[in-house]
């Protein structure tokens, strides 16, 4: 009964095993939660709440940019809005949402009874609440929220008010939470797989998360280092990044992007995993190249560590540096291409149906690839000279983060929600959600390519009047996009959580594969309490 609000009707046991401790009730169930399904639900709800907060900030930005001139906010508040929109979406919405998916699905997919460290799991979730409160609450601190951009470039950060310190502290806590979550995921995957599930038989989502978790452990401490140095520069007289004392502001950018570039793959690799389950399920055909998908994921992860300075072409690095980072970046398009080709080869000569998960998956492939191509264009240092720090870049990363990560999570939600709640979502509403999202997304972000090419810098509260029409169009699209997500929550998510809808069978998708479909819907509070016996493909339980 895991993701359903009312705790009665608990299904007893799975596979006839004993069900000696039932679901706890009331607030204790959530505050003291150690069950991976409950914690997964908490993560997902938390991430959605943050998506809404970050979305409201985005709509304030778009409202201000609807026409030239300042109408709603002053430029200082505008900078606070762009900064907090970025921080909240990256650290509050996208990352925790994927951890939510990991919590729910990894134990179910590998036939484990729970996550390896159940109490640490609880701690990593509940740490995020004070951090998020501090982050969102920084608007009400003296001087307002941090306004130095989500990248927090020095030495602008030295001019920020006390909320900057709150923001740094919040990010430290979120980072600690992420690291604990990653350790938990790695230990669970490496130690708790059901007998017979070798590494190369693991579901793709588990593979992508295993690699993502290593990326997180590698780079979150780097971010912590960068922001700690910022903190000591601000208060303890060090001058790491302050040129007035011999520090180097560009060094901050190197450290930040050494974290920041793997971070973008942290936000997209699990999405690749989700899509790699949905496409075969609805094409009724096996994933074309499982092994090459695993190798491609690993290649992307490794390459992600040697491309960071493509965010910094405009800082002025030596010609050899620019060439190295340009070549390395262009190279990433090869394994990424392999993934896209694999999904399409999986669809080829399949027997496809287009329920909402598949619609979002196809939408993901289509729109994400556009973001991939603009990424390739951005990677060319001479072109980047024109578009660095303009709306072209804003368009590019929203194509990969919204149409990439967010679309994949919507796809994953529709795919797995029958398992989570035991009821089917409303297909018509799902389709409305998909088409509204896809169209309004493109109306919002496609014109931003033109704005960027015309030279409109990002993080601008006001702009030349020639750019008014595309800005107005983007703003209209953004509001439709925002309200579509409210529709999604009220008319798709809430009904399934309340248990309204057609009862879901154990395996609602004809050709879905994996151990999660071997337990009843909704997944009982405890699953796989004894390791299941698997068939040769490690996708079926045989006793």
């Amino acid at each position: 009964m895991s993701a359903v609000l009312d705790p009665h009707g608990h299904v007893a046991g799975d596979h006839g095993h004993d069900d000696h401790h039932g679901a706890p009730h009331g607030w204790r169930r959530w505050v003291f939660a150690t069950n991976h399904k409950d914690i997964g639900t908490l993560y997902l709800l938390f991430a959605f709440a943050m998506l809404m907060i970050g979305g409201v900030l985005a709509l304030l930005i778009r409202a201000e940019l609807f026409q030239p001139g300042l109408q709603l906010v002053n430029p200082d508040l505008f900078n606070q809005l762009t900064t907090m929109h970025g921080l909240i979406m990256v650290f509050g919405a996208i990352m925790p949402a994927f951890v939510g998916f990991a919590n729910w699905m990894i134990p179910l997919q590998i036939g484990a009874s729970d996550m390896a460290f159940a109490r640490m799991n609880n701690f990593s979730f509940w740490l995020m609440i004070p951090a998020a409160a501090m982050l969102a609450g920084s608007f009400f601190m003296p001087g307002g929220a941090p306004a130095a951009g989500w990248t927090l470039y020095a030495p602008l950060t030295l001019q920020m008010g006390p909320s900057m310190d709150a923001g740094i502290f919040a990010m430290h806590i979120l980072g600690a939470s992420s690291i604990m979550g990653s350790i938990n995921i790695i230990v669970t995957i490496l130690n708790m797989r059901a007998p017979g599930m070798t590494l190369m038989k693991m579901p793709m989502f588990v593979w992508t998360w295993l690699i993502t978790a290593y990326l997180l452990i590698a780079v979150m401490p780097v971010l912590a280092g960068a922001i700690t140095m910022t903190l000591t520069d601000r208060h303890f007289g060090t001058t790491f990044f302050n040129p007035a004392g011999g520090g180097d502001p560009v060094m901050y950018q190197h450290i930040f992007w050494f974290f920041g570039h793997p971070e973008v793959y942290i936000m997209i690799l699990p999405a690749f995993g989700i899509i790699s389950h949905i496409v075969p399920a609805f094409a009724r055909k096996k994933l074309f190249g499982y092994a090459s998908m695993v190798y491609a994921t690993a290649s992307i992860a490794i390459l992600s560590f040697i491309v960071w300075a493509h965010h910094m072409y405009a800082t002025g690095m030596p010609v050899t540096g620019q060439l190295f980072f340009m070549y390395a970046t262009m190279l990433i398009s090869v394994p990424t291409g392999v993934k896209v080709f694999n999904w399409i080869a999986t669809m080829w000569r399949g027997s496809m149906t287009f329920e909402t998960p598949m619609l979002f998956a196809v939408g993901f492939i289509f729109v994400f690839t556009m973001g991939g191509f603009t990424g390739l264009i951005c990677s060319m240092a001479p072109i980047d000279t024109q578009i660095q720090d303009t709306y072209y870049v804003v368009a590019h990363f929203h194509y990969v983060l919204v149409a990439g990560s967010l679309f994949a999570m919507f796809a994953g939600f529709y795919y797995w929600v029958p398992k989570w709640t035991g009821v089917m979502y409303n297909e018509t509403r799902g389709k409305i959600h998909f088409w509204m999202t896809l169209i309004s997304f493109n109306v919002t972000f496609f014109p931003m390519h033109f704005l960027g090419l015309a030279g409109m810098p990002r993080r601008y509260a006001d702009y030349p009047m020639q750019l008014a029409d595309f800005n107005a169009l983007a703003s209209v699209g953004a509001f439709v996009f925002g309200f579509t997500q409210v529709f999604f929550f009220l008319f798709v998510v809430l009904p399934t959580m309340r248990g309204h809808g057609e009862k879901a069978p154990q395996k609602p998708w004809e050709a879905a594969e994996g151990l999660e479909w071997e337990v009843p819907s909704p997944a009982p509070f405890h699953t796989f309490e004894n390791p299941p016996k698997l068939d040769a493909t490690a996708t079926r339980v045989i006793g």
Partner: protein, 388 residues
Amino acid sequence: MIKNISAWLSHGVLAASVAASNAAWAVNDLPGGPAVRQLNLQPAATKIAEEQGWLHWFMLIICTVIFVAVFGVMFYSIFKHRKSLGYKPATFHESVKVEIAWTVVPFIIVILMALPATKAVVAQKDTSNADLTIKATGYQWKWGYDYLKGEGEGIGFVSTLDNEHREISNSGAKGVQIENYLLKVDNPLVVPVNKKVRIITTANDVIHAFAVPAFGVKQDAIPGFVRDTWFRAEKTGDFYGQCQELCGKEHAYMPIHVKVVSAEDYSKWVAEQQKAMAAKMDDPNKVWTLDEIAKRGEKVYAANCAACHQPNGKGAGPIKALDGSAVVLDSDKAKQIKVLLNGQANGAMPAWKQLSDTDIAAVITYTKNNWSNKTGQLVQPAEIKASR
């Protein structure tokens, strides 16, 4: 705030309804700056920008061809290989040959893309043998230009957004159509046509970025460090850019205006500037009268201080008010002099030591004797000189 929102809503509905006909913002293209509903890069005025434009088309075409080919296959499959059409799934999967092909082919395409890009990078980075070297210094929030080497050596000035445009922005820019909105400055950067101009960038406070799209240049201006870039403009005329690295509150209000003129016009401009500079040289030992120096201070205030402290001296939000400020009213003049020379609050109030002794003396005198401040105190340039 509520009034603003309702005004904005009524305006918004109106603007949305006429956005398609473009009646609300019937502004013309700005040569050397953005065009109305511009779809591609700005027209190039240098070889480098031309090269970048060519590369962009080259990439766009290759990417579009691949996109159409790949998604042609996908959509063919989506329309043909449907269960509703009774299509039975094939069972093929795993093919080393196919996997190698779609790894190697993109790799070769990427190398083909990298070749012309490499050529362009090398050309862009070659700042040697410049005819004219100019230092561009980013300040919060204006640009300082110093002609370091070549014709016009020694000229230096500050370039600030037209205050009227800033006011229009604050008041919502309703019903105005200005072609060079937010791009108009008091002193444009003047350079000769067909000469290699090397721009050295640095900054006084935080990172800024010097960018002129038509020239294909963008270079961060980093405090404590110097970086360089170059351009050789092939057309005379006005070209516009904006600061491209978030630098605080007034980030959107520090434009770059480059005036490219013929060699003769440039020589004429240099001669004029040098004459004006000689005339402007203030004798720091001159003793001023209160009226005289306060009048000068009013101009200094409008150009440097009004953006934050506001023309009425009341400040805004975290920006402190000068009207009625204890430091301004203090009989010890040294207190205010120290703030102007060294800055305050971690640079939130920047240091202004780049201004001349006379300008600093003038603006302090002005603030001490304007609005409700009636101290009657007079600060002479010599006092600033002594405090430096």
